[in-house]
Structure formats: C-alpha cells, structure tokens
C-alpha cells in the first residue's frame, strides 16, 4: 500500500514544486474560504437585512428594500442618545486603560526585577482565563450597596458609585485592560535602554523622558491596544445588564430586538461598525495597525 501511494504523492509534490503560485493558493484556500465565506458573507447578510422589514405579528422577516430602519434610528432621540452614550463609554474605557497601562508597563519593563515582572505579567493575564460572566458577576457583587467597594470606602466616610454609568466604565476597563496592557508593556520592553541613558545624560528628568521619548515610541502600541478596548466596549451588553442599573447601551437595544425585529437590530449594529471603521481609518494613518 505504501508503495502504491508513493508515486502519486511524489508526482503531486513535483507538480507543486514547479508551480509556486498553485502552492500559495493551495495553502491560502482554507483561510480565504473562512474569511470570505464565513466572515465577510455574514457581515454582508447583516447589512442586507438592515434594509428588510418584519411582520409586526409573526416577527417573520420580509425581504425587500426600505431605508425605514435607518430613518427610524436617525429620527428617534433615544437611539441617538444611546449611540452617543455608547461611543462615550468606549472612549472613556480606552482612556482609562491607557492611563493605567502606561505606568504599569514602565514599571514592569524598566524598574521591576525579573521576578516581579513575571508575577505582574501573570496577574494581568490571569483574569483572561476566568469566564466573562464570572468576572462581570464579581463586579456586580463588588459595587453592591453592601459590597466590598463600599466596605473599603466606608472608614473614610466615602461611598462607591453604586450601579450605573461609572460602574459600567470601571467594569469594562477591568475586562479589557489586558488587551491594552500587554501591547504597551511589550513596546516599552523594546525601547533600547541607551535611549533612556542618552536622554538623562542630556539632562532630561523622568517626566521629560516619558513625554518626549517613551510616549512617541509607544503610540503605535497604545493605538493597537485601543482598537481592542474601543471595539470590545462598543459591543458589550452583558456588563451593562449586571452593573448598569438604568444605563442603556447599543448592545442592550440590539439584544432586545435581535429575535423580535432583526432588520432594526441589523440597522442598529451598523452604528458600531461605522464607529469602529472610522476609528480604524483614523488609526491607519499612524501606522499603528502594523503592530497588531
């Protein structure tokens, strides 16, 4: 059996060796099929559905063409407010992640001992191993009226924010922080130590070094991280359900419509797609996407 197969396999490899293009396409065909067949086609289907209508009684989707869903969104203040709020939350989360990631990254890469560094790297990535729901529920318990946050603040005569917008921002920051912290840490490690030496030889203080040397070199990594934190925040709806109290985000509205009125849900989901698209477009110019 071995002997019978060999010549065929041999012929095939000879043929492939002679035709590098065929070899390339052969290798790429599966990922390309996945990319186009599964990823892009389903995205296109979603966009097409946004122009359809729903039978108000049976909730069955009726193919056709109408811009009514988009008009509806653009003329309804609650949808517009919700979209604005969602983008604002996504920006705040991204900003907070960046603000926390910078000092942590510098400490880990330049100050901490190898032992500390490993410990911190593990501490940052460890939450990624826990289930999403578990983490969100932990945040819900933390921010409760009788929860640990209030218990910690109580001796100082303070109380936590409770459920609501601040809790949503903090929860999402906690959830997506590793996606910002890791690229930033990696980028800082890659900054050659002699740049720091040179800067201080020339008389620059710590802050000046961070501002004029570290930050410019970090921008691509920060932007790469922010693509994650921004788009992940735009799509979240479960975190809001647990700690949002009365906060409505785009994800919650889409979730409410997804089975009942799929065309409206599809039209609503165009908003985050456009927002993330615009963001990526702006980011592309900085060259940060090469860091991804």
């Amino acid at each position: 059996m071995h002997d019978m197969r060999r010549p065929t396999a041999h012929r095939l490899s000879t043929a492939l060796h002679a035709r590098p293009r065929l070899r390339l396409y052969g290798l790429l065909s599966l990922p390309l099929l996945w990319m186009f067949g599964v990823y892009l086609v389903s995205l296109a289907m979603l966009l097409v559905t946004a122009f359809w209508t729903t039978d108000p009684f049976t909730s069955k989707v009726i193919p056709g063409f109408t811009t009514r869903n988009f008009e509806n969104i653009l003329t309804t203040s609650s949808y517009l407010n919700t979209a604005g709020r969602t983008v604002g939350i996504a920006f705040l989360v991204t900003l907070l992640c960046a603000v926390f990631a910078l000092p942590l990254g510098i400490f880990m890469a330049k100050v901490a001992s190898a032992r500390w560094r490993n410990f911190l790297a593990m501490a940052i990535t460890l939450p990624l191993w826990a289930g999403y729901l578990v983490k969100v529920f932990a945040m819900r318990i933390s921010f409760g009226e009788n929860g640990p946050v209030n218990w910690l603040l109580d001796p100082f005569g303070l109380s936590g924010p409770g459920y609501g917008l601040p809790a949503v921002v903090l929860t999402l920051t906690y959830l997506w922080f590793p996606f910002m912290a890791l690229p930033v840490y990696t980028a800082i490690r890659q900054i050659p130590p002699n740049l720091f030496d040179a800067a201080s030889d020339l008389g620059a203080g710590t802050w000046r070094v961070i501002r004029t040397v570290v930050l410019p070199l970090l921008m691509p990594a920060m932007i790469a991280g922010s693509v994650f934190t921004f788009s992940l925040s735009m799509g979240d709806f479960i975190g809001t359900q647990f700690v949002g109290a009365k906060v409505q985000m785009l994800g919650t509205v889409i979730n409410q419509n997804v089975n009942l009125n799929p065309p409206l849900a599809a039209a609503l989901s165009v908003i985050p797609i456009v927002a993330v698209g615009l963001y990526l477009f702006a980011v592309r110019r900085t060259g940060a996407l090469k860091e991804l």
């Binding site: 409760g144 359900q241 409410q256």
Partner: protein
C-alpha cells in the same frame, strides 16, 4: 433561571373572554374576537410510537435526572412508550419561535408572548383533545385562554402559571403595601430603591396600574393599547425611571439586588421570593398584576406526532405536572397535582394554584398585536415592535 428574565411571557388576555364566555371552557370567540390563522388540521388518531420526540422547553420542564437525580420524569416515559426524548433548552420566547420555525422540533413549551405568533405564523397545529385524556383535569382558569385557544380551537395544553408579585424587604418596608403606587408614584417613600423589570412587556404593568387609577384612558386590557394609551403608559414608565434603583432582566440579579440592599421593593416572581426567604415578603396588590402561563404546543408538521401526543398526555397527568411545577416554581395546571401529598398541597397553597379569585386579577402575558384583542375594531392597537421601541425610549 435567567431564561424567564430575558423572555418570558405568557399569555392570555382571557379574563375578558372568561367574563364574556362564562363557564364554557371554550369561550374563545364569545366576544367576537377572531384571528386570521392558517388552516392546519389536528392529528387524527394515535398510532405507533416513532421512537423519539424532539422538544424545545424551558429549563426544568423536561428532566431526565441528569441535572438533579430527584427530577426525572423522562426515563419512565421512555421506558413506557419507547420514545426517546431529545430536549433542547429554550433561552427566550423569541428564540423558541425561531427554533420552532426550523421544523426540527415536535413540541414546544410556549409562553404567552410566543404562542400567538406561532399560531398566526402557521408553525403549530390545533390539539386533538381526545388524544389528551388528562386535559379534563386542568383548572378552569387555564382553559380557553386567548394565547392558546383561537377561533374556538385549542392550540395548547397548559403546563402552569405564575403572577408577577410586589416583593419587598420586610425591614425596610414596615407596613406591607397593598397598591402598586409604591413603585409608580413620585412621592413613594422608597424612591431610589425600586426595582423594575427590564423588558418591553413591562409596559403592560404600567397599563394595569393606569387601568385602575386613570379609568378615563379606557384601557380594558393591558395588552390592547392604542397609541394614546401606549403613550400614557410610557409617560408613567418615564416618571418611574427616576425612582428606579435598577432594572432586572436576570432572575439572579433580582435576588442579589434585594440581598445587597440596592432595592427594597419592586416587581418579582414567587419563585424569587422563595429563594430570598426570611426577611422578604410579597403581595398581589389591589390593582391586580401581570403574570405568565406556559403551554405545550405541537408543530404544524411534526415528524413524531404519536410520541408527541404521548408526551402531552404523560406530562399533563397529576404526578408529572406536580413534579414539573414544583421543580420550576409555578402553579400547576392540573388541579389534581395539588392533591395526594402534603408537599403537593403546600406547593399549591404558596402558588395559589386553584385559587381562581387570585388569578382573576392577573393579566397573563400575551403578545400585543395590531388587532385589538379587547374586541375594539375602530382603532389600531400597538404591536410588540412598537412596544420594544417605546421601551428603548423609557430607558433613553
């Protein structure tokens, strides 16, 4: 048990129908309410078992002991009939409707916000009651309801029901309230500590309150709101928004909201109150309330009709209906499920299973449709899509 939250819903506006139809069990068209539904024949006779049956059900409705060794009413069914039960858990009513339309399932445990859609969509067939002998034992209040009984034909076999009650923390709320005004009015002593339900169907709760306190609006059924009545309900909900501590969609969040002291009063289910235990109480206020009710429905073209009918009758018999309703936390549909043991009697007492006076004041969840189910023909009522849009405006 988060499924309920996201979806739930059940049923019928039948109080009206019951009032008009009197005591005959099938008063479905007594008030002249007819629905345009596809003509699908009921299964004729019981034949040979096919060997399997595919069921979409709420968690806890179809149990084979794998989750909890004490909850098993599938194994005996399979042993008796030779029908293997394939269960698919439904997470929301909307998802159940979508799954039923795939044609892969024989039965579904439909709640009232799903059932009318399934009937009108031609996805389910009428029930041949001759093949479900235990149907006769069901409590009167669950027969002939609009959610499963259209144009004089039964489309569902009731499983159980529950009311949405006013739950409160007994320490924070010293005198038990007897009106929903503590959750709706701006001068409520509990402003800022009120929990509300996070679903468009909660608009019906506002409508029930308005029905009682603003009779000029002319609401006679909280699921038949014309656009003026819907606006009034939404106005009330927006007023409530500033009093609310949080909205709950997940069962567990209601529990933790009361336990953590975030909320002290608000809408809930008996089964949640049972979990909270001592220190909490619940009432059915004078205005009445909304509620939910679930029924078995059979696919329009079931692959396994005989096994499906065998399951319908099996699960409706007193012992099995008692097991399902006790496992899930609701009032059983079969009156005999309240007899036979102290446990059964105690369960039915807590859930008011046979207390029709209690449920006479409960408006079971039902899908709002453009045709007014209160019988009005001079106005167009608002559909559930419109309710969903209105709900988004309440939360802003």
């Amino acid at each position: 048990m988060h499924w309920r939250a996201t979806s739930a819903a059940g049923v019928a506006a039948a109080l009206m129908l019951a009032a008009c139809g009197g005591d005959d069990g099938n008063g479905g068209d007594a008030n002249g309410f007819m629905l345009d539904v596809p003509d699908i024949p009921a299964h004729g006779e019981l034949g040979e078992a096919e060997g399997e049956v595919n069921i979409i059900a709420w968690p806890g409705f179809v149990e084979d002991g794998s989750n909890n060794p004490d909850a098993d009413w599938v194994s005996e069914f399979t042993a008796n009939t030779g029908c293997v039960v394939n269960r698919r858990i439904g997470e929301t009513s909307d998802q159940m409707v979508t799954l039923m339309r795939s044609g892969d399932y024989d039965l579904v445990s439909a709640s009232g916000d799903a059932s009318l859609r399934l009937i009108a969509g031609g996805d389910v067939a009428p029930i041949n009651l001759d093949l479900v002998p235990h149907f006769g034992d069901l409590v009167d209040g669950m027969k002939g309801q609009i959610y499963d009984h259209v144009n004089g034909e039964a489309y569902g076999v009731p499983i159980g029901r529950g009311a949405n009650i006013l739950q409160f923390n007994s320490d924070a709320v010293e005198t038990p309230p007897n009106s929903w005004n503590v959750v709706w009015e701006p001068d409520s002593p509990y402003a800022g500590d009120i929990i509300a339900y996070d679903s468009p169907i909660y608009i019906a709760d506002a409508a029930v309150y308005l029905m009682h306190h603003e009779p000029d609006l002319g609401i006679t059924n909280p699921y038949a709101l014309d656009s003026d009545q819907l606006d009034a309900a939404v106005e009330l909900l927006k007023q409530q928004n500033s009093l609310v501590s949080e909205y709950w969609a997940l069962y567990t969040n209601n529990v933790s909201s009361f336990q953590s002291g975030t909320s002290v009063v608000g809408t809930s289910w008996q089964v949640i109150l049972n979990v909270l235990g001592d220190g909490y109480d619940g009432v059915l206020p004078v205005e009445g309330s909304t509620g939910w009710s679930d029924t078995w429905m059979i696919a329009a073209e079931p692959k396994n009709p005989n096994c499906a009918y065998m399951w319908l009758d099996w699960s409706t018999q007193p012992e099995i209906n008692a097991a399902i309703s006790q496992n899930f936390g609701m009032a059983p549909a079969n009156a005999l499920a309240c007899e036979g043991s102290e446990e059964n009697e105690a369960h039915c007492e807590i859930y008011h299973a046979t207390d029709e006076d209690y449920y006479a004041n409960v408006w079971f969840w039902t899908t709002p449709i453009e045709q007014c189910i209160d019988g009005r023909t001079d106005v167009r009522c608002t559909s559930y899509q419109e309710w969903t849009e209105a709900w988004a405006s309440v939360k802003g």
